[in-house]
């Protein structure tokens, strides 16, 4: 208790020097929480977006289907059973048929994936309602990423070529009836979405599908022979891996930030131990053991972090509240950083994040304060009193 009281008195007494350290430390606190909160927010948003746009509550895949191997698409489809059709009618399942194809935008050839989806589905956010079946040709919606890469605009007509179930090539014209913005790249890049009925007709796969997306509820769902059920978490693994790899660089950045802050404290402590020799000798002469002096100096160092929490809270809390309610807007387009981000990101500042950051910084600060303070034990008090040790 005495150590805490004295340490507090020493820090407050030191005035400006203390506050400079505290501000530097609080800045690193707030930055770490801010960045981590942003990444967590991004992670959360990416999960939510993936669920809404792609995975739903999980998917039934035809047993041969492998999304990473388009050559499997030819063999991975099966007719819907009456039970599946019934669930589809109730809006609990959405069938998707997938096949390979080629489009010729502006005379160039581009291999794509064609996905057929129920025009009336409400389960996924893909704007299937914009698949205007009244147009002449096959209506299609594409993600903005795809639109940009293939230079497709709303109303464009483009030739599409595919192979039907018998392996025969056929061609037609698709009309872009809608372009949608999504943060989920796996339903955007290199693919077009057309009505399920059209794709089934084109490929001669009446009533067939490649995968079935289920609703995002806990309601029990039967198993279907010949279809494997992919859990939601398993489907989200990909997106999480992408985010993790994208955020690894940021972790390095805040490690550096933390190290810098610790260096400031370490430096202050090293200086203190040498500049305050006379004081140290005097402490000993007045009846403190060296161990108590070491403790005092360590507590002083650690207390910088405690003060930094207080100072950081003063400007950090309003900042965090403002950002997590209003979100942060990004001017940049997703492609610039290699992965699509929402234009407005809502950072997620969890209690867990705040507490663990505080804990790590307080412990680390105390530790780096202890290292130079340890030197005090080796000091000869009669020399220290005179302030002579070099």
């Amino acid at each position: 208790m005495t150590a805490i009281k004295l340490a507090y008195r020493n820090l407050i007494g030191a005035g400006l020097r203390t506050w400079l350290n505290v501000i530097v430390l609080s800045f690193s606190f707030v930055m770490i929480i801010w960045m981590k909160g942003m990444l967590d927010g991004w992670d959360r948003q990416a999960r939510i977006d993936s669920i809404e746009w792609e995975t739903g509550g999980g998917q039934y895949w035809h047993e041969n289907y492998d999304p990473y191997d388009p050559f499997t698409f030819e063999d991975s489809h099966a007719p819907l059973t009456p039970e599946q059709e019934n669930l589809w009618q109730k809006g609990k399942l959405v069938p998707v048929l997938i096949t390979r194809g080629t489009i010729y935008p502006g005379g160039r050839m581009q291999n794509i994936v064609i996905k057929g989806i129920d025009v009336n589905q409400k389960l996924l956010s893909i704007p299937t309602a914009r698949l205007d079946t009244s147009v002449y040709g096959i209506p299609a919606v594409v993600g903005s990423n795809m639109a940009q890469n293939s230079r497709l605009k709303k109303g464009d007509r483009v030739v599409v070529r595919w192979r039907d179930a018998n392996g025969t090539f056929d061609a037609d014209e698709v009309v872009i009836t809608g372009i949608f913005n999504t943060t989920v790249p796996s339903i955007d890049a290199g693919q077009i979405w057309i009505p399920l009925k059209d794709l089934q007709r084109m490929t001669l796969l009446e009533n067939e599908a490649t995968l079935l997306v289920r609703d995002n509820t806990e309601a029990p769902m039967p198993a279907f022979a010949g279809w494997k059920f992919m859990e939601q978490d398993e489907l989200l693994k990909d997106i999480e891996t992408i985010i993790k790899s994208k955020t690894a660089g940021t972790s390095v950045f805040y490690m550096i930030l933390l190290l810098l802050a610790l260096l400031v404290i370490f430096d202050t402590q090293v200086l203190s131990v040498f500049r305050r020799q006379k004081e140290i000798g005097t402490y000993v002469a007045m009846g403190m053991t060296k161990k108590e002096v070491v403790t005092l100096f360590t507590v002083e160092g650690g207390m910088h972090a405690v003060l930094a929490v207080v100072v950081g809270a003063v400007y950090g809390i309003p900042l965090f509240i403002q950002q997590s309610t209003q979100g942060i807007s990004f001017g940049l387009s997703g492609q610039d950083i290699g992965i699509t981000m929402a234009e407005t990101l809502y950072p997620l500042y969890s209690m867990e994040l705040v507490i663990s950051t505080i804990f790590i910084i307080v412990v680390a600060t105390t530790f780096v304060s202890f290292i130079p303070a340890r030197k005090i034990s080796g000091m000869n008090p009669t020399e220290a009193i005179k302030g002579k040790i070099q």
Binding site: T2, K5, L6, R9, N10, G13, A14, G15, K278, E279, G281, T282, V284, A285, M286, G287, M288, T289, K290, K291, E292, N380, P381, T382, I385, K386, G387
Partner: protein, 235 residues
């Protein structure tokens, strides 16, 4: 008399102190035998390098003797562990240094309060004792100042207040007037003499300042690490 055996508060027997000096040893104190009684106002005098500070440090348990025995308040300082000797200093000894050694970031009040915090005294008791000590030294008006804003004389008075606030049995003062002018030196010595008289505190100085020597009631002359003379001044 004051240096009566059974009233001895400080006793040194055959004390030798050696310091390593290159490959050999330098003997700073050579077979010192000395007894101080309670309430003495004594000084170690002698030329520079005669061992005054060294002897004071042994009594203050800041250093240990190479040979012989140092007793303070009836306890063998040489046999104490770090904790015990810290307790001895905390409870019974007051130090006054040539360079004052005040805590620069503390106010005068906080500096004087410091030894009482170490003793874990209650707030009310601390305040009373600090105000009293500031009064003795006539520095109440400076209570809120930091040492950097005080003159040398004022600083030394703060240091004396700090040494006296816990009413220790012994005050050890190493060249307390070395950085002070004549007027301040006299003022401070008069104050210490008064505290010695009123509180019965034992004072042991180390000095070669004539102004200090004039006030001493006992002069222990050191020369080349040995007690060359020991005279008691009758008043």
């Amino acid at each position: 008399m004051t240096n009566n055996e059974n009233q001895a508060i400080i006793a040194l027997e055959h004390v030798v102190k050696r310091f390593p000096s290159g490959k050999t040893w330098f003997t700073a104190l050579k077979d010192i035998n000395l007894t101080l009684g309670r309430g003495e106002f004594a000084g170690l005098v002698g030329p520079s390098g005669s061992g005054k500070t060294t002897l004071l440090n042994l009594v203050g348990s800041l250093d240990s003797a190479s040979e012989g025995r140092v007793d303070v308040l009836g306890m063998d300082v040489g046999k104490m562990n770090a904790k015990k000797s810290a307790t001895l200093r905390k409870k019974h000894l007051g130090f006054i240094f040539q360079t004052y050694n005040l805590m620069p970031v503390y106010t005068v009040y906080e500096n004087v309060e410091f030894p009482l915090l170490l003793l874990k005294e209650k707030a009310g008791k601390r305040r009373k004792a600090v105000m009293e000590a500031l009064e003795w030294l006539g520095i109440e008006s400076k209570a809120k100042s930091k040492p950097a804003r005080l003159s040398g004389g004022e600083c030394q008075r703060v240091a004396i207040a700090r040494a006296m606030v816990k009413k220790p049995e012994i005050v050890l003062a190493d060249e307390p007037t070395a950085n002070l002018d004549a007027e301040n030196s006299h003022h401070i010595l008069q104050t210490m003499e008064q505290l010695n008289r009123e509180l019965g505190t034992t004072f042991l100085f180390a000095t070669h300042d004539e102004k200090v020597i004039k006030y001493l009631k006992r002069k222990i002359r050191l020369f080349d690490g040995k007690v060359a003379a020991d005279e008691i001044i009758q008043s």
